[in-house]
Amino acid sequence: MTRHDCDFLVVGGGLAGFAAALTAAQAGLQVVVLEKTAHTGGSSAMSGGCLAFAGTDLQRKHGIEDSSPLLFSDMVDVGKGECDESLVRLYADNQLHTYEWLKRNGVVFSDAIEAASGQSVPRVHNVDPADMVRQLQNAALATGNVTLWLQSRARRLLREADGRVVGATVEREGETLVVHARRAVLLASGGFVQDRALIHRFAPHYDNAVFIGGEGNEGDGLRMAWALGADVRDLPYIKGTFGKHPIDEHNHHACLAVYKGAIAVNQEGKRFVDESQSYKLLGDAVMQQSDGVGYQILDHGIMHSGDNQIRILDFTRRLEEGLFVQAHTLEELARLIDVPQEVFLAQVSAYNEAVRNGLEPEFGRKHLVHHHGQLRTIEHGPFYAYPSTAAVFGTYCGVVVDAGLRAIDVFGEPIEGLLAAGEMIGGFHGAAYMTGSALGKAAVFGRLAGASAAAMEGGSK
């Protein structure tokens, strides 16, 4: 079998993989990056491009006071105590450096900044996600220390007698070869959103959801880690993101008019949830409704409070694409979306009445999103409905890791030589997640995994 040697083997050519590869290459390691498909980017490139950072120059420019402790507190809060606080601490302590590092390596952040799911203050930093991966990939290749193999799939991890992971078997161009890694192997191959059977095993209530993610995200990394006894976390918390139009195949990201004041109603015309919650919890809620689908209901003012530079708030752009149902009156809107008119009008009226009187509407909604923003009424036409179901963009669960991003086995022992980062890992999010923390963790933990590999002793050759 053909053998290839390197210092650091990275499985997966998405954000986590290239953040790790670049960091390790900048430290002088010889790196091989395996990408199973014909293109790099994976789920990272298909994401909404939101990264959760705190205390940045961009926030200061917008007069937003934020900090790592507040970010930590928000993340633990939104994770409902189910997250591994040591990982959240690791993220909070390293996110600001990562933001600066991304900028130094060519990643461009838009000037806009917004609050979204799970955030006490606006901290969504926006990028073109495909371009971000491309920038890191270019920077990595420019070091001269990184080799990228496309259409190359890692199949099994290789271990020495003492249990240390020293490489992987790889399928490439019809051949199976062996790649040996002197320092470490990083699993950065994403989750398993493209393996419906595996999704069904852990989250059968999401069978009717829309699934969007990198075509290579079939759980390869998880299976290879499992085979070595790796422990896993957060599998019960696989969730979809609320706000996906069920038949729109062009906008992969969700639309969250609820975070600007819209309400969510089901096909019976009734509100069914506190709309200010994490869109993951909203995803759970909508999947419990008839057909797993509902509508976001908004008026003219809310429609124009969006921001087309922010993918989840680009309402008027989607309106131009014909994705909103539009009506002059709420009565007409009820007819167009075929919900019981009397029930629907009573629900909107009760919501408006509570907001006007400073009371909590049903389900205890207090804010637009998380602890941010004042509720507004829905009363000035034209009125709009955005059909919404849940989209499973990622699996948000996986291998247990320690602060060095080392994979941990079911007995709590590190699997020497094996690192994991990005969507591969479990424990970071807990029960729900903050907007920007999934892409953020790929950048932060990918970078830390690269540094971790660089700090390791070289293994056998």
Binding site: N208, I247, E249, Q267, G292, L336, I337, D338, P387
Partner: protein, 262 residues
């Protein structure tokens, strides 16, 4: 009233171009993740039929969708509008450039399976490879008259009326015989939003394909496919920042730099 709607779909240009190749029997094989969506003319044809059913619940709508890339997804999107029947039509959609042959094949299907349908409704162009010749050829194949460029169809009591505009005038036809209607898109026949309960139900549907009952006759055949020349794009893209006033100012400055007199 029985209506047969014929849909084709067109390439969805928002997805990357897909590779195609020629098979040994001179058919075009579309590979990769080719995507189709309903064309504006397809949508108009479907909406015209739906409006007629709205106006008279006794109206039956049967839909045939030409087989091709992404057929199942396209069938699901049409199924969400709840036609009474919906099937794929097993014609080689990639050979629609041979309009006379395509019309002959489609006509044979309609003669065999839908001979009693008073209206055959089709967009003014049927798919990417039709430049508009297929509807009249199909009308001839079906031995029917054609009402072309229809914009509106409506009931007036028991009478069915079709309308198209010409200049400042409207032409109205009272339908008194089986007809082929080719529809152009118009704000009055923009396809409605499907109901979500129907969208979700359509996800669970299984579809069948109707085979073409006649053999393909000889005619022009493809011998080779040449790679399209790749156009190298020059210049650099520059994003204009700031508010609209700043962006306008920056654009004026850039145009002046290019020698444009403003």
């Amino acid at each position: 009233m029985k209506i047969l709607v014929l849909l084709a779909g067109v390439a969805d240009m928002r997805f990357a171009l897909h590779p195609i190749r020629l098979t040994p029997d001179a058919q075009i094989l579309e590979e990769g993740t080719a995507r189709r969506l309903l064309s504006p003319f397809d949508e108009a044809a479907l909406e015209v039929a739906l409006k007629l059913r709205d106006g008279n619940p006794d109206t039956r709508i049967d839909v045939l969708l030409l087989e091709g890339p992404n057929t199942e997804n396209l069938l699901r999107s049409v199924a969400a509008f709840c036609p009474d029947s919906l099937q794929a039509l097993g014609i080689q959609a990639a050979r629609l450039w041979h309009s006379r042959e395509s019309a002959r094949q489609i006509g044979a299907v309609i003669d065999q399976h839908f001979p009693e349908h008073e209206l055959v409704v089709v967009g003014r162009e049927l798919g990417d490879l039709d430049e508009g010749s297929l509807p009249p050829l199909l009308a001839r194949s079906l031995r029917r008259r054609q009402f072309a460029m229809a914009q509106v169809a409506q009931w007036q009591g028991d009478r069915l009326l079709l309308m198209r505009e010409r200049g400042t005038r409207e032409e109205w036809l009272t339908v008194d015989q089986p007809l082929l209607v080719s529809v152009t898109n118009d704000k009055r026949n923009r396809l409605r939003h499907p109901l979500m309960k129907n969208v979700m139900a359509a996800k669970r549907r299984v579809f069948t394909c109707l085979p073409v009952p006649v053999a393909v006759t000889s005619g022009p055949a493809l011998r080779a496919l040449e790679a399209a020349p790749v156009t190298t794009r020059g210049g650099q893209c520059q994003m204009l920042g700031g508010d609209s006033a700043h962006q306008a100012q920056a654009l004026i400055g850039w145009l002046k730099d290019q020698g444009v007199h403003l």
